[in-house]
């Protein structure tokens, strides 16, 4: 990543960190007065008084301190990025287009989408509809894994018939080996 781009990323990240740390500080203060998540109408004045007297026992104390330090560090990062020349002037349509066309960004999105599909679609659907073999319970996982492996290999590999056939065989073998090896031989619970 170029230095200027890195500093712009630092600028955006510092703002995100500030937001997260403020939210964490607010949540920590809530924990000081109401550690067990009761409705706030049920929190009595005596409870608040006792919480203030024993502030050092609060479950929210350490998270508050950490969040405060995160906030300070985020401020320093923001200041540093600004000093190095980063500004919020990069949010333009052209830059967004360039980011979408960026090869690495595309790869990151595709890998995330395939893995999300594997976790949230392939696995639940295969478990729901393909649980055919009571003695081989790893079968739905095997099919889901095969789909994920094959998708990833086809998307990132060569788009010709022979390589695709190779990917098919490699995915099937790998999915079978993982499901049988871990699920049946090593008796590791599979998702």
């Amino acid at each position: 990543m170029k230095k200027s781009t890195l500093r712009r990323a630092d600028l955006v990240f510092s703002v995100s960190l500030m937001v997260v740390s403020i939210a964490a500080m607010i949540e920590s203060v809530k924990l000081l007065f109401n550690p067990f998540g009761r409705d706030f109408e049920d929190v009595r004045g005596d409870d608040i008084k006792q919480s203030l007297e024993t502030w050092y026992q609060s479950v929210g104390l350490v998270p508050f301190i950490i969040a405060a330090f995160v906030f300070v560090c985020a401020l320093c990062l923001f200041h540093f990025a600004r000093r190095e020349g980063a500004r919020f002037d990069f949010i333009k349509l052209g830059n967004v287009r360039a980011l979408l066309k960026n090869e690495e960004f595309r790869v990151a999105v595709i890998v995330t989408v395939i893995l999300s599909a594997y976790i949230f679609a392939f696995m639940p659907l295969c478990r729901e509809y393909l649980d055919f073999f009571p003695r081989f319970q790893a079968f739905p996982f095997m099919i889901a894994t095969f789909l994920m492996l094959f998708c990833m290999m086809v998307v990132f590999g060569e788009k010709k018939l022979v390589p695709i056939l190779k990917y098919f065989v490699a995915s099937a073998l790998a999915a079978g080996a993982i499901a049988y090896g871990f699920g049946m031989l090593a008796l590791i619970p599979l998702p």
Partner: protein
């Protein structure tokens, strides 16, 4: 003397053919993991921690330690043959190893680095067996304020050393890890924090899925984003012109360098969270500074190949010392190992010699046998390695992704852990692009609970007075060191890893 007897007893107990076979196989696997670019020791251990969860303990530790020892060495093979370091700790080895391969001395270079790795690991284990048990008796004096300061010291020093950009990023990483560790049930009062009404979050963020996510998923993305398969040339392993000098004599002739690099590796390995890669760079830098022939560095110097390999392997033993005695891991793989021990109900720390009096000797004996396994594995894999390195990433990385999911799920059988793995994977990738190292974040997640519990316990004991942290000598000492580290880093503004790597990188650029 008593220690040596206990070590000998552990050797006898480990003479189970099945354990020895598993150790050899896992060391072979470790060498392959280390050699394959994109797969690292930490990732291998993190993946296998989940996958071996249900195995008997003896087998699990043999697998994890075998992979650790093997992978740290394995990185040097691809560094020499491909000029692509298999692990970050082998990056310095590539600077000398690959020019040696180009000169037709690949076989000798691999043998020299293998011997250097074995000597380095051996010295590290020796230090572990000799230093760790007496250190636990000192650590027994630790109470809550000291533990709090120690954990804080671990996160801060790791943050200030491993980052490749500004030190602030290392500290932010450590703080993010600490904040993540606060999610879930608190251990003192049983109150749930930051769960936002979600039952899964109430159980907290499991460290193994988070570690797998941070170390494995970003590597999958990075591997597909790089287009280096086409022009990847693997050098032939066989020497073109046979070296007259024997490898043992060559390494023995550099005894001063070996001892110097081993001490550097041990010292840096023992610093919380810093690890083998920094040890390798610093050992390489020191070798260049103290060499009689510094001009040969960068052109294929055996000294330059020996120093980082001794350094990074000695760091294994060094990293295990604070991990076993203080529960503060010395390197990222040791951090993952600490997580593995914890999920198997072994609590490293000062009490380990009371709760498991033989455990440190058991680990030392297993690592000693791992050295022997490394010797055999190195010989077995030397020839086929040129073929193994040609396995295309298009087959390898999707399998790594699938194994990550299996490993993340295997610990608790919770679907939520798979989501944690994916979310932390994506977060790890974004942070990696912004030059945040995952090591302080992971260390923060591991030590977060220790910090929270001991800080509040100290305040409860002192009735809310912060003076407890400055009136106890060990606690005060840690506080002074923490302040010193922070002030020094602010003034210097250049992390140690970057500083160690810069002159070397400059030298290699000049070569190009």
């Amino acid at each position: 003397m008593n220690g040596l007897v206990m070590l000998a007893q552990q050797f006898v107990e480990l003479m189970d053919p099945m354990v020895l076979l598993i150790l050899l196989m896992s060391t072979l696997l470790g060498v392959i993991i280390g050699a394959l670019p994109g797969l690292s020791a930490t990732m291998g251990i993190a993946l296998l921690t989940g996958l071996t969860y249900k195995f008997p303990l003896d087998y699990t530790f043999a697998i994890l330690l075998g992979v650790y020892v093997g992978a740290i060495y394995g990185g040097s093979m691809s560094a020499i043959l491909l000029n692509i370091p298999g692990t970050a700790s082998a990056a310095a080895t590539a600077l000398e190893g690959h020019p040696l391969a180009l000169q037709g001395k690949a076989e000798t270079a691999i043998k020299v680095t293998r011997l250097a790795s074995i000597i380095g690991t051996f010295i590290g284990i020796l230090a572990l067996a000799l230093i760790a048990p007496p250190l636990t008796s000192i650590a027994l004096k630790f109470t809550s304020p000291e533990y709090f300061m120690l954990a804080l010291f671990g996160v801060l020093i790791c943050g200030s050393i491993v980052t490749s950009d500004i030190p602030l990023k290392g500290w932010i990483g450590g703080l993010i890890g600490l904040l993540i560790a606060q999610i879930g049930m608190d251990t003192l009062q049983g109150a749930s924090r930051f769960d936002f009404g979600n039952n899964a979050l109430m159980g907290g963020i499991e460290m193994v899925p988070a570690m797998i996510g941070f170390y494995a998923i970003p590597e999958v993305i990075k591997a597909f984003a790089k287009h280096d398969d086409e022009d990847m040339t693997v050098n032939e392993l066989k020497d073109e012109k046979k070296e007259k000098i024997s490898v043992i004599r060559l390494v023995y002739g550099k005894l001063r360098l070996v001892v110097q690099s081993a001490l550097i590796g041990l010292g840096i390995g023992a610093l919380p969270g810093v690890g083998e890669d920094v040890a390798a760079w610093v050992a390489y830098g020191a070798a260049k500074k103290t060499s009689k022939e510094p001009e040969k560095f960068g052109t294929g110097s055996y000294e330059g190949a020996i120093a980082p390999e001794v350094g990074n392997n000695a760091a294994i033993g060094g990293a295990m010392i604070p991990m076993l005695t203080l529960a503060v891991p010395g390197s990222p793989p040791a951090a993952v190992l600490l997580g593995a021990l914890m999920i198997h109900n072994i609590r490293p720390g000062p009490m380990i010699m009371r709760d498991n009096p033989t455990f440190i000797y058991y680990v030392a004996a297993l690592l000693f046998l791992g050295v022997v396994a490394l010797w055999i594995a190195g010989m077995i894999l030397a020839k086929p390695m040129t073929k193994i390195l040609k396995v295309p990433k298009i087959y390898l990385m999707p399998i790594v992704a699938a194994l990550s999911i299996v490993g993340a799920y295997a610990i608790n059988n919770r679907a939520f852990d798979i989501v944690v793995c994916l979310v932390f994977g994506v977060l790890g990738y974004i942070l990696d692009k912004m030059q945040y190292s995952p090591a302080p974040i992971v260390l923060g997640i591991i030590l977060g609970n220790m910090i929270d519990e001991n800080f509040r316990r100290s305040l409860i004991v002192s009735d809310g007075s912060l003076s407890i942290f400055v009136t106890r000598p060990i606690s005060l000492l840690f506080l002074v060191i923490i302040v010193f580290v922070i002030v020094r880093m602010i003034i210097k503004k250049k992390p140690a890893a970057q500083a160690a790597a810069e002159p070397v990188a400059a030298a290699s650029n000049e070569e190009e």
